[in-house]
């Protein structure tokens, strides 16, 4: 393959990897939009949902693979919504009105707890996740290899992004979610049911994260620590893209992954050992020049 071919291949690889970062980033944006909080347990909750989906799905898979996977996905998403809402209601609600820092630390605690609980129930071995098609399947377009899994993941994420963008900007519920995060007191006074909105926000984010969890597990198998490394990239993407923008988070996540890949290969002084630093250098630069993120709205305080 010539070096242009390699370049294009690396971009395609980056988009595939970035789709997974993007999926988790979207969930983080969603929770942030709904609660003003960064949820470090988002990856852990996504993995938990995937385990539930796998366990239920595997009951049906022997009868029919496609049906089994479908049941698994539906159960995983539904269970995650319930778990997300439950965690908001019975854990995070206790910190309502407290320090922001306390809430963030609580989510880190949740991550540790959820990972441990998954290990206790399902163990720490890698478990294959049944999927609609064999994730090794790939095809070649003009010499560029594209895996079916990558394409599926990419399209799913773009679709989810569009739905979220519409939700936040065009629907009453989306506006309600944002209002509650922005100013719970005023929202309550204007008739928005704050508690319910918070629960819905957490539930939706958990459900969204679980879709990412399933896509990742379909390729890399299921393990309690699946999202540990990816969470860091997702957070970087969220901050670069802007905490308030689903499109920003997705663009940033894809950009990070592509840039990282290209820098590792074409900048010899960076190489594959240092390429992990690329997104974070970018993060510093963005924070200095545009603290609200590339696509974020500046928060304006009126006096």
């Amino acid at each position: 393959m010539n070096s242009f071919g390699t370049f294009v291949q690396l971009v395609v690889d980056g988009l595939a990897q970035g789709s997974i970062y993007a999926a988790l980033a979207l969930a983080i944006v969603l929770v942030h939009q709904a609660t003003g909080l960064i949820n470090f347990a988002q990856g852990g909750m996504a993995v938990l949902g995937s385990y539930i989906g796998m366990t239920v799905g595997n009951l049906v898979v022997p009868v029919n693979l496609i049906l089994g996977v479908l049941v698994g996905v539906i159960v995983a998403v539904a269970a995650s919504f319930a778990i997300g809402a439950f965690i908001e209601r019975f854990v995070m609600r206790r910190f309502q009105g407290g320090e922001e820092d306390t809430k963030v630390v609580a989510t880190i605690g949740l991550l540790t707890l959820i990972t441990g609980a998954i290990g206790m129930i399902w163990g720490f071995n890698f478990i294959p996740y049944p999927f609609f098609f064999n994730t090794s399947t790939s095809f070649t377009v003009a010499g560029i290899a594209i895996s079916l899994w990558s394409l599926t993941t990419f399209l799913t994420i773009v679709a989810l992004m569009a739905v979220l963008q519409l939700l936040f900007t065009k629907t009453k519920m989306g506006l309600g979610l944002r209002a509650v995060a922005d100013n719970p007191g005023s929202s309550a006074l204007s008739g928005i049911r704050v508690g319910r909105m918070l629960m819905v926000g957490w539930g939706l984010a958990a459900a969204l994260g679980t879709i990412a969890g399933i896509l990742l597990a379909a390729k890399a198998q299921l393990n309690p620590g699946n999202f540990d490394a990816i969470l860091v990239y997702a957070l970087a993407a969220v901050i670069i893209g802007g905490l308030s923008s689903p499109i920003g988070a997705v663009v940033a996540a894809l950009g990070i992954a592509v840039l990282e890949n290209l820098a590792g290969t074409f900048l010899p002084w960076i190489g594959h050992d240092l390429k992990i630093a690329v997104p974070f250098v970018l993060l510093f630069v963005i924070l200095l020049l545009r603290p609200q993120g590339l696509f974020g709205r500046k928060s304006v305080v009126r006096v």
Binding site: L10, D13, G119, N125, S147, G264, T265
Partner: protein, 428 residues
């Protein structure tokens, strides 16, 4: 008594919760180790070491039971738990001093964290453990090596390819179990040279002792061969979430051999999928811990024809290969795993470490049979004096008397045939 897997998982959960774990370590420290004599050895000459009585010997295993390395980690304990479970049920093992003892195994979770393994060592001392054995991991075993030497505490048959554990003459009561990474990489290098054809090699290695060890062994073996050229070497950090960029870059070199010194399961699977997707059909070399047919190759969709050839260096039969389950020893192995290892995650074949642990237990048994006094020194003496011991699953006899070498030394190159591995001499 054998600590059960369920018990371990409960502990794992507690550790995750944090507070409880602190309480446990706190309690452990509160009780100082009882001095010197752990068991009343009646009329014997030497005073018995801690952890051995007239009818039991307590063995400690500190290894990752939770976390990313938990799969192989649990296996390092489970093989021995199964093996000694069988022996204990038969009444125990007759030691060299004429007494018959059962073997009690205590497992300690170090989460692949060196700080935890040091704490676990202190815990083993206060729990009156006779010796530590079979633990997995280079950094974790290194972390308590000096402390163990100071205590005169044996740290034996550790599952790391680090040669530092295999000197008999440095005063440390330590010994490695598995062949060094260099030996495995070297076995592939030699077979590639033996092929006599020109080869262009792309190398992908983990940027630590593991990956560098494999690569060094390979380079040493091909040194002086004009036909074999390393066209590109790329490294990665174990925390990376994808190596596809490296694979794409290596494929672009036009190499016909991929030396794949990658130890992380999901990365190894994704890499093989990527190599296949790119339409690249290299001769592949895989390290023994990421070459399992059931754990790696099948999930990656690799068949006998996917690549030009898939090779791995191994020193023991793979439990996942069909002939293993049909052999008498294999049947006994699976029956013992089934009976004595609790917990749904271990089937004894997802990771090779279960078989390695079983092998380690056989070597320990031989040492127990030959130790003439109930002391750690006598045990170490017996352990490092074994030669010609045939075990159930290793490719060659065990010889622990060679200075600088681990207990298992015979490494064979194997080729994947679609179901399992068959031994070969030459690549190609």
């Amino acid at each position: 008594m054998i600590t059960t897997a369920t018990g371990r998982r409960m502990l794992a959960f507690a550790a995750s919760a944090g507070v409880v774990a602190l309480a446990i370590t706190g309690c452990g420290r509160a009780e100082p180790p009882a001095g010197g004599n752990g068991g009343g050895n009646g009329g014997g000459a030497a005073e018995a070491s801690p952890g051995i009585t007239d009818d039991t010997l307590t063995l400690g295993i500190t290894t990752p039971l939770t976390g990313a390395t938990a799969g192989p980690g649990n296996c390092t304990a489970d093989g021995a738990i199964a093996y000694f479970g069988v022996r204990n049920a038969e009444g125990g093992i007759e030691f060299g001093d004429g007494k018959t003892r059962t073997i009690e195994i205590k497992t300690y979770d170090d989460e692949y964290n060196p700080e935890k393994s040091v704490t676990n060592f202190q815990q083993m001392v206060s729990d009156e453990v006779f010796a530590g054995a079979l633990g997995l991991g280079t950094p974790t075993n290194r972390a308590w090596r000096d402390a163990a030497a100071e205590e005169g505490f044996p740290q034996v048959l550790v599952m790391t390819g680090d040669p530092v554990f295999s000197s008999r003459e440095d005063g440390y009561l330590d010994l490695g179990l598995v062949p060094s990474y260099q030996q495995e990489g070297g076995a592939f290098g030699e077979a590639l040279v033996a092929d006599g054809q020109p080869h262009k090699v792309a190398v992908l290695f983990q940027n630590d002792d593991y990956g560098k060890g494999y690569t060094q062994g390979f380079k040493d073996a091909i040194e002086g061969s004009d036909d074999i050229e390393i066209v590109k070497e790329l490294s990665y950090e174990p925390t990376a979430s994808s190596l596809e960029g490296q694979i794409t870059e290596l494929q672009a070199t036009g190499a016909d051999v991929l030396f794949h010194a990658v130890s992380v399961t999901p990365l190894a699977i994704a890499d093989l999928q990527k190599v296949a997707a790119l339409g690249w059909k290299p001769i592949l070399f895989l390290p023994s811990n990421t070459a399992s047919p059931g754990g790696i190759l099948t999930p990656a969709g690799v068949t006998a024809d996917t690549f030009t050839g898939v090779y791995a260096a191994g020193f023991a039969q793979a439990a996942a290969a069909p002939p293993f389950a049909e052999s008498e020893a294999g049947k006994a192995y699976f029956a013992a795993i089934e009976q004595y290892v609790t917990g749904h995650e271990q089937d004894g074949k997802a990771f090779p470490h279960c078989v390695w642990s079983w092998t380690g237990a056989q070597i320990l048994e031989e040492a127990f049979k030959n130790m003439e006094e109930p002391t750690r020194e006598s045990f170490y003496e017996a352990l490092t004096s074994i030669s010609g011991l045939e075990t159930d699953f290793t490719f060659g006899p065990i010889d622990t008397t060679v200075e600088g070498s681990p207990a298992v030394q015979v490494v064979e190159l194997q080729k994947f045939n679609g179901n399992g591995y068959a031994n070969v001499q030459v690549v190609g």
